[in-house]
């Protein structure tokens, strides 16, 4: 039997499930193809979902989505490998709807998202891996799979197959395989129990914390994270592939380095590890996106590198949902009007004008700023050293001026104050 649909969506992550949901609601026939035994089985993320992007699509998500905790604390931790300097915002407003960030398990959240698409009429194929594209001389015609029926034909194919997108590569949308702009996320999930988590973090039941760490994977380039689920704590590192290559270090030893900091050692103490995993992240942002479409195919979500890794804002799942929505709407409106091929550049333009596109364009300088060795290594070292001098009371002599403290900390870090000024300028330019 030959399977034919209006649209085949490959990958039932947030991008693919959203595109399928939108298309199915518009009355189009949609196949949603997932290689895992259930949506989310292959997925891993680094901590927080920002779901206001769902308000239009699934207005009642706050009462129905499988959420672990509502984030009420957002912390940034700087470390020199021993000391930690923490900036934290505790915001009680975030505890109440509309909320800000929430934590979830992807095995539940992605499955729930895909269920919304199925309820709207999409056909979900699980345990089905796409093994190649079907094409003629002019366009992509669908996908070849390992499913018993094999080929799935469609008027338009959506590649939402994640960061390694073999489909986008086979369609010629990525120039080449490259480790540039890719980081590796490596995460351990530790069971502590809800009560212990709330006690250690000083949280009310149901509330959660999100910590982002800078300086913890030195001499490699990247960062760390720690966030609370209902019963478990997730702790992990992000490390650029190029710095894995240049340092010869591995993610497990870098995570061990993070867990050795007294700050984190005490948070995870006595816990038992349930799961470890790793996943790549397309951190290059707007400048490293591939061509977003070719005749018969569009790319969305991580597969299109539509991920915001800006240091201040670290967002992937909402970017995936947002871009999947644009793909679904653009293709849906087109197919409702005509069976002609999607005009070239149609989806690209819609994405560029969307919130996802506007955020990524505005912040396109931030990924290289955040991954700059000065920001990665010098900034946390100097900041923690400055705080150490500032708060260490030594009455053998009178207190030095703040300027003198800053100069001493910078000198100790081997950097001139002028360089720090330059860094501040770069930061302003990247984030303005």
């Amino acid at each position: 039997m030959t399977l034919r649909y209006d649209v085949v969506v490959v990958g039932a992550g947030p991008a693919g499930a959203t595109a399928a949901l939108v298309l199915a609601r518009m009355g189009l026939s949609v196949a949603l193809v997932e290689r895992g035994p259930f949506p989310g089985a292959k997925n891993l993320y680094g901590g927080v979902l920002y779901l206001s992007v769902l308000d239009e699509l699934i207005p009642d998500w706050r009462s129905n989505a499988p959420i672990e905790r509502v984030v009420t604390r957002r912390s940034t931790v700087l470390t020199d490998g021993r000391r930690t300097l923490t900036f934290a915002l505790d915001d009680p407003d975030w505890a109440r709807p509309p909320y800000n960030g929430v934590t979830a398990r992807r095995s539940r959240f992605d499955r729930w998202m895909a269920e919304q698409a199925v309820s709207a009429g999409a056909h979900l194929f699980t345990s089905t891996t796409v093994t190649g594209l079907l094409r003629n001389d002019t366009r992509i015609l669908g996908v070849q799979t390992d499913h018993i029926d094999g080929e799935i034909y469609a008027k338009i194919t959506i590649a939402a197959d994640g960061v390694n997108s073999f489909m986008a590569r086979e369609a010629g949308l990525y120039p080449r395989f490259s480790s540039d702009h890719l980081t590796l996320g490596y995460k351990e999930v530790i069971h502590l129990g809800a009560g212990t988590i709330e006690e250690r973090f000083g949280l009310e039941p149901g509330e959660g914390a999100d910590l982002e760490v800078l300086g913890c994977v030195s001499p490699a380039i990247g960062g760390g994270f720690c966030y609370t689920n209902e019963e478990t704590l997730a702790i992990g590192v992000i490390v650029s592939l190029s710095s894995l290559a240049s340092t010869g270090l591995g993610a497990p030893e870098l995570l061990a380095q993070l867990k050795e900091l007294s700050y984190f050692r005490n948070l995870i103490r006595g816990g038992s590890t349930l799961e470890i995993g790793a996943h790549l992240i397309p951190e290059g942002g707007w400048r490293t996106r591939p061509s977003l479409s070719a005749p018969g195919i569009v790319v969305t979500g991580d597969a299109a590198s539509l991920c915001l890794a800006s240091g201040l804002w670290l967002e992937g799942v909402n970017m995936a949902i947002g871009s999947g929505k644009v793909a679904g709407e653009t293709i849906g409106q087109h197919l409702q009007a005509t069976d002609e091929p999607l005009p070239p550049g149609h989806y690209d333009a819609a994405l560029q004008a969307s919130v996802v596109g506007r955020n990524l364009q505005r912040l396109q300088r931030t990924p290289s700023f955040v991954l700059d060795p000065k920001v990665q290594h010098d900034l946390p070292r100097i900041a923690t050293s400055f705080a150490h001098r500032l708060f260490t009371v030594d009455d053998r002599s009178a207190k030095p001026s703040l300027g003198a403290l800053a100069r001493r900390s910078a000198n100790e870090g081997g950097i001139r104050l002028r360089t720090l000024g330059r860094l501040a300028f770069d930061a302003w330019r990247a984030f303005r």
Partner: protein
């Protein structure tokens, strides 16, 4: 509630190997990644050995590399970092096989 939702009651595994042993892998009968280690002779970095987060590439005493696909996270690190043409063939596992994350 599946077995994977149940927290362990006793002291838990702490090393990577022991945790992986207890995780959910639906191991496929055939490998989704294969390594032609004869091509690794010309590689000076052997970056796969240190970079693979599941530590699946192991150096042998005669200087070669062996690879075991069974506890693979399917992340793609080796695929992107290996710079020896033709040393790795890399596909996602088929028919739902491979790693299953419950806490991803």
């Amino acid at each position: 509630m599946s077995e994977h939702d149940t927290p362990p009651h006793h002291s838990s595994p702490s090393t990577l190997g022991a945790v992986l042993e207890a995780m959910d892998f639906d191991v496929a009968p055939t490998a989704h990644i294969t390594l032609d280690s004869s091509r690794c002779d010309g590689c000076s970095t052997h970056i796969c050995v240190s970079a693979c987060p599941a530590e699946l590439f192991v150096r042998t005493s005669d200087g070669g590399i062996i690879f075991n696909y069974e506890r693979c996270f399917e992340c793609g690190t080796c695929l992107h970092l290996c710079n020896v043409e033709g040393a790795l063939t890399w596909q996602y596992p088929t028919l739902g096989h491979g790693v299953i994350f419950h806490h991803g």
